[in-house]
Symmetry: C2
């Protein structure tokens, strides 16, 4: 029996999850192990600890521990902005005139503007605990870099951010937020690393890509004393930290008798989608409930829907471990025409495996239709969404309109990962009618896929 | 007895105020009436209805009705983003090592990024109810314009915004948010009005001011069929709508046994400060409790601390009614050096009267110290504050540090009116060490004051 549902469900502080949930523990087929690119053997904890903090490396390799206690310091930071609200989209339902019930878990109520802070604070914590001086990272749309800057400032750690060049130029204000929190921000590719210099030589005038910024950040970390590299998505440790989103959403749903039929998230590297669906997927894997899960990716960077499930490098510079995943090839460069994040060539190995087993669906959407959904949502729900999040909005609206056709009263839950306040250049393009779609040709994708050479 | 206080107190939807509170009803000396500039007689409801919607004009003139029921349509919109959290600043207290307990009422969790939406939706509602086609307004830092754009979009009303030129240029992304919500935005002064053309002629290259943008918006409203003018601050109707801030804060305080000793707000025209303190001031006026109230204004535009309590025009173009208030003179142009809002030459007549009677204190602060407080706050509390709000943060920190000296465990409540995501140009200046202070000389202020000529 459903209770009366308020517009926003805020759990109390006491209802914050005490543990992160590791969906790998419930997966019958585990994600394939990370491989050492030199030996092609599974990465050992010692090898991985050269790049990541040791405790994070342990989390990365652990396919069996179901719950990881959230350290008190992180819990107390979470209380700054969590629990995040689960919102009933009454206004959107009315505007769509749909019998569907639409909910979204909103992660944008913090200065980083997205869910990224959930993992940033965890990674900064373990770096501090290990006695490191600082961390390096890459950022695409800038959300992860902002989140990490905030987290490092909190723990008084140095923070060096390589920001994808096109974002660095389109989002100067993101850079200032990071600087306000004390971070160094370098546009990538840059001449501050060997791999950056090589890429600049091979592709002069390149807009950069996440894969390339990752290479630079990793190189800087392993070549600087007292530094490690941290990453905002793709990795299993990140999905673990982000499970706090799904755990809160599940608690709120259970509390109010809400039973989602469809759970939707945008997918770049998979951090938000993985975090949101993990606990629900756990129930599905344990046979306790059933849900449809939908990953929504941009048509311009369609790793799940048009990529290949294979081992590949996580970065353009080929300095990272090999990961088995859906990939477009580590040399894939998304069109600069594409606004916002979700520009990554690969996908979380956990999500890749779940997708490969048919436990999750995927679809790709074109950006003009994404911005159309974003503006529609902003006007009725009051929140101007990030372009990334708006991929999920697009799919949620499409599913709700489908319900309108069929008359089904489905319950749809989607992840609203963040706000679009730093994406106004893209909105301006859309407002001016100057936004277009770009779908890579089969030839382009085949070329990039056939360049995969591990 | 105080209960255990969570980091964030969220009231439930059912605890949303059902009525706005009109502090004038409890004031022994009422604010002086608005005067018709031609006759110098008190404005009648019919005269005022030429400029404002009739119901808003009635609210403006009503010094006696204590509670105004909030219409259902507005209540339902409020549920999109209200109740807003009352936050215990545990992290800031720790950073300051103060015995003081610090709370802030945070109004930035909505796309307009500030409390302005509380009155915008009310004013748009009454305009719609009256069957108008649209409204005009001015905006300084852009928060009010954004809020009104959102509100008009919700009720499908035209929205014409005159944006102070310096803000228009410094905040191009604000303009895009407004456009996304369907508003027309014009930099002021402009050649679209008679008063704008005159000001441009007298002060070529001017940065504009709120007073001047108001004149343009009023002229456009009264000269366009089916339009009225709406204003985001200063007016008594606005303080009435903004009382929702104080009512929620008071409910939350009462619920948790929190007894503020000092209540602090930034003051430009007075909308946030007036809204926050109104219900508490009511208790003080009725002898039920006592509080210190502190208005914090920029040293570059110090209407309370260095202005004169007298009748003056609300706008540079002298098209508005005369209001008795603390004013620097309607011809006062704040230094372009000053970042953000709070650039208005006058002050709410309600707050002016309360200040004149000694029921409220005022102080002015310089902007470099304001940004210092902003950055300190952002780093520990996680929210990057608007420059306007940071005036209140400055004073709250100063009071907390005073408690540290004296050992007093005072309870401080301040209004955190909004976020600074569209103020990164100002933050960049501060980060680069290029921000300076500007305090008008006595000569400048005397010149402007002596130009008051009603």
């Amino acid at each position: 029996m459903e209770k009366k549902i308020p517009y926003k469900i805020y759990l109390s502080e006491d209802e914050l999850p005490r543990d992160w949930y590791n969906v790998r523990a419930d997966m019958k087929i585990k994600p394939a192990p990370l491989l050492n690119p030199a030996t092609k053997e599974p990465m050992t904890i010692d090898e991985l600890s050269q790049v990541f903090c040791r405790e994070l490396a342990l989390q990365e390799l652990d396919n069996d521990t179901k719950y990881f206690p959230i350290p008190d310091e992180i819990l107390s930071f979470y209380k700054m902005y969590r629990p995040s609200p689960l919102v009933r989209a009454y206004f959107l339902e009315k505007a769509l005139d749909t019998p569907a019930k639409i909910y979204y878990k909103f992660e944008g109520n913090n200065t980083s503007g997205s869910h990224k802070l959930n993992s940033a604070i965890a990674q900064a914590y373990y770096a501090k605990k290990q006695g490191l001086r600082g961390v390096t990272t890459e950022t695409g749309a800038g959300q992860w870099g902002t989140a990490l800057s905030m987290a490092c400032s909190y723990f008084d750690l140095d923070c060096k951010v390589y920001m994808v060049k096109v974002s660095y130029e389109q989002k100067p204000f993101r850079r200032e937020v990071m600087r306000t929190y004390g971070a160094d921000v370098t546009p990538s590719p840059s001449d501050t690393t060997k791999v950056g210099r090589e890429i600049l030589e091979r592709f002069p005038g390149t807009n950069g890509s996440l894969g390339c910024a990752i290479s630079e950040a990793v190189e800087k970390a392993v070549s600087t004393d007292g530094y490690r590299y941290v990453l905002g998505s793709v990795l299993s440790q990140v999905l673990l930290h982000q499970s706090v989103i799904g755990l809160e959403a599940m608690t709120a749903c259970d509390k109010y008798g809400i039973k989602p039929d469809i759970i939707i998230g945008c997918a770049g590297g998979g951090s938000n989608l993985g975090g949101l669906i993990s606990p629900f997927m756990g129930r599905k894997l344990r046979g306790e409930a059933d849900y449809r899960f939908i990953a929504v990716e941009p048509a311009s960077c369609p790793s799940l829907t048009r990529g290949k499930y294979t081992y590949d490098f996580c970065d353009t510079g080929k300095v990272c471990p090999l990961q088995k995943m859906y990939t477009l090839g580590s040399q894939f460069m998304p069109s600069p025409n594409h606004a916002g994040g979700l520009r990554y060539h690969g996908m979380s190995s956990i999500l890749s495996e779940l997708y490969d087993e048919g436990l999750m669906e995927a679809r790709s959407v074109e950006q003009t239709s994404v911005f159309e959904a974003a503006v529609q949502f902003a006007k009725v729900e009051g929140t101007l969404p990030a372009p990334e999040s708006s991929h999920a909005i697009r799919a949620a609206i499409d599913e709700a309109l489908e319900c309108k056709k069929t008359g089904e009263e489905k319950t749809i839950l989607f992840g609203l990962t963040g706000t679009g306040y730093f994406d106004m250049v893209a909105y301006q393009k859309y407002n001016d009618g100057e936004m277009s779609d770009y779908i890579p040709t089969d030839e382009e994708i085949n070329k990039s896929l056939s360049a995969i050479n591990i």
